[in-house]
Structures are given as C-alpha cells and as structure tokens.
Amino acid sequence: MNPLERYAPLVDDEETFFAACERPLPSVVRVNTIKTTPARAREALDEEGVGYEPAGWHDGILKLDGRSPGTTWPYFHGWLHGQEEVSALPALAVDPEPGEFVWDACAAPGSKTTQLAAQMDDTGLLVGNDNNLGRLSALRHNAERLGVTNLAVTNQDARNFSLKPFGSDQFGGRRYDSDGGDDDGDNDAPADAAREAFDRALVDAPCSCEGTVRKNPDVLDQWTLDHVHSVAGIQKGVLRRAIQATKPGGTVVYSTCTFAPEENEAILSHALEEEDCRMVEFDSPLETVPGVTEWDDEEYHPDVTKAHRVYPHHNDTGGFFCAKLEVKA
C-alpha cells in the first residue's frame, strides 16, 4: 500500500494532495547572508544567465530554472545553499538573536544549521550535533563553504546530550570555574566562557520522511509502520533533552518532514506531559493547517493545534511539520 493513503483523511483535497506528491520539486537555493546579500546573489545569477524566481515569501529563497545550483559561481563562493523551500521554516521559528547559545540537535548535513548561523550574524555559539560521525563531515563541509565561524560541532547521542564540553555543571557536566576543568596546570578556563543552558534549540528530528517524496520517491518503498514506531521513541528522547537543556523562557522548535501524527503531534503531547513546557503560536509565511488532536484512536494534547502542518499541494513544496515550544520559567 502507498503509505501516503493513510493521510487522506487528514487532507482537505485528496486528489490535489496525491497529484502534488507525484510532481518533482524545483531546484531551490537559499542566499547565504554571511557572505553576500540577496540582491548581489541575484545579480550574480543574472550575470551567468541562470533563470530563477524568488519564492515570494522570503527574498533570500530562489527557485532556479532547471540548472543544478552547484555549477554556478555564486554557489562556488558559498553565496548559495541548495535547500528545499519548506525546510527554511524551522530556523525562522527558532528566530535566534546574534550572540545567543543555540543547539541544533540533529544538524547534519547542515541546511538549517547554516541558516541559524546566518540569522545569528555568525556570532554567539551555535552547537551543531549529530550522532552519525559520517554525516558530520557533510555538516562541516557545508558550514565552512558558507563561511560559518560561530559553529561548534559535536558527535553525541542527542537523547542524553551533555553540556559538559561547554563548561556546564548541569546535564552530566561540570563547571570550569576554577582550574578543575583541565589538567595543564594553568588558569586558562574563564568561568564566563562556561555555558549552562541553551537560549534556543532546534530538534529537526530523524523521521520517516514521506514529506520528501517529491525529491526522493524511494522513501515510500522503504516506509514501514515499525520504523514509524521505533523512530518515535528517538524523537521523544531528543525533544525531551532539548527542553531540559534549554533555559527557562527559552524556545525549542520541533520539526519533521513526515505527515505521521505518531511522529509529530504524539511527540509534542508526550513532551507537554513530561516536561515543563508549553506550545507557542507562531506565524508561518507559508500556507499551513493546524496540528491534529486525534488520530487512529489516539487523542493528543489540545494545544498541538498550534503546530503547523504543510502539505505539498498548499504551496507546491515538500511536506513538513513544525511546532514551537517555550520552556516554562
């Protein structure tokens, strides 16, 4: 069975939903404002005769005509990054400020991480973590090509992420407030450099990915309900850790590219029950529908309606899910 059919009861117009899932996605790039401006990036594409169309809702997102972005000069200079339109949403929801301490829990290969870095004006400390060492090299490659210099890359299991490397005494860490932090005998660990908790966190969780079907139709063949259930356990663990590691009043954003409520609203419901946090509304620049409160005999927390579901036929993008939480003060 086509797993997309299980979501037919959730969409407003089944036929256009299925039709949109069959169409390939355009090649989309995000302008990297660490190295250039949207105006100059567009001029560079004009100079090469590469056609494009701005996404409309964001002046730094351009849909290219045909050509792969890799073979253009602005790409070579790290002015552009290939990134699906809808995947620009979570970093906008995180909305980090320059100078903040921000965690991207599942960062590789780094599209959203590098977008966060640009929003932070490449200042503060952005921690890009991934549990897969092989994928970390892609993260580092992308970040360095885009000129990111505020990024710390870590290789931990996000479910029990420790802030110890950053000098925290919480979450399995210890403070470097004296010379206890290292053993080279000098006093080179200033307490003010230690960081205790994140200002914001993004959990762009590993998922069953049906939302990427327009880019990678194979995801449907690989889909199993068992995988949905096993990955849901990981998602719950990572989201809970992100809430624990973020300071009171801080923001945690949860996103996936699946339509499965088991991996979306169910994960939020679990976090709302187990951790001190609440759902927050945020405006989406793309057309979306609210999160669902019922699915397959399950009922979810009523506040999950503040989350955004993006279906491919709404904005001619991939499918997506994005929710914003606030850690209670």
Binding site: K35, T149, G167
Partner: protein, 178 residues
C-alpha cells in the same frame, strides 16, 4: 632529561586548545601564537588585525589552526570549532580555501586577479602558467564577480606556474565569465 621531555605539554588531536597570545605565554612547543597568526595575515596579505579582533584561535591536530567567532572554555573536546583556517608548524604557513573566501576580501597584497577562462580553470583545480611579478608562495586568487573582487581560493605560485589548491570537494566546472 627524558623525564622532563615527557612532562612537556604537547598538542592533542582530541581537543581544541586556545593559542597563547604571545610567545612568552606559550607552553606547548612550536604552537603558533595569536600574535603570530594575526601578524601573518597582515604581513602576507595586508589584512588588518582588526578583521580578527572578535575571533579566538585554536589548535587541534598538529599545526591545524581554527578560527572561532567568539569564545568558549579551553580546552574543549568536540569535533569542530569555527572554521579550519590555517596550517602552521611547517615552513610556509598555508591558509585554507574557506578562510581565504571568508576573510580574503580585505587582502591588499599577494592577491592575483584572474579573469575569464583563467578564473574558470583555477576553480576547476587546474595549474596554469601566469605572469606574476610579486612574491612566490601562497597567494589569494580572486576574480571580479558582479563588480567586486571576490576571493576564490589559495594558489601556490612557483617558477611561473600558479597551482590551484582548491580541494577536490570544492572544485567545480564553471562558466567563463566575460
């Protein structure tokens, strides 16, 4: 004697250590200092020290210096910190392609400007004969992109030849710009 040597602090490939500010503060033998690193960019490329005032510099891996736009605890055991920036502990220090693309716009000397086909060949990783009256060694290689000089990467100039050091993963076949 041998005991003393064993106790001498050494570089570790497992962690990032902040570069000492000056030679007087150096504890790990042959580790580059902040003063030397900033001075090298000024001396070699004319990039003012001010360009790096908000950056801290770290060594992980022998001679590999990283530039981080901020500060954190020292040492720090993680996989990456900022950008891999400069290769030291060898006779001729070598900046990375990414560092030159990020900081090279402010370079005022040892910058070779290519145009048209020569720029395209450099980005594809090709070595080529060029006329150059300046210093030999590592150069910033730049070209004009929409009206401004944009650094492409690092070239090694020796015996009339400009070798492209653009890493394989960054080489591209790009169109020739007029």
């Amino acid at each position: 004697m041998s005991d003393e040597r064993r106790e001498e602090p050494t570089n570790s490939g497992q962690q990032f250590d902040r570069l000492p500010d000056t030679a007087e503060e150096r504890e790990v033998p042959d580790r580059a200092t902040r003063e030397e690193v900033v001075g090298w960019w000024e001396e070699r490329f004319g990039i003012p020290p001010k360009a790096f005032e908000d950056f801290t510099f770290w060594e992980k891996g022998k001679g590999k210096v990283w530039a981080f736009h901020g500060d954190t605890v020292d040492p720090i055991r993680i996989e990456g910190l900022g950008m891999s920036f400069l290769r030291t502990r060898q006779e001729h220090w070598k900046p990375t392609t990414n560092a030159v693309q990020r900081f090279g716009r402010e370079a005022t000397k040892n910058v070779v400007e290519l145009a048209g086909e020569t720029a395209t060949r450099f980005a594809a990783g090709e070595d080529q004969d060029i006329e150059w009256d300046g210093d030999w060694g590592y150069l910033v290689v730049a070209h004009d992109l929409v009206g401004e000089t944009e650094p492409m990467g690092v070239g090694l100039y020796l015996y009339g030849e400009l070798r492209s050091t653009v890493p394989k993963g960054r080489q591209e076949s790009l169109p020739v710009l007029d």
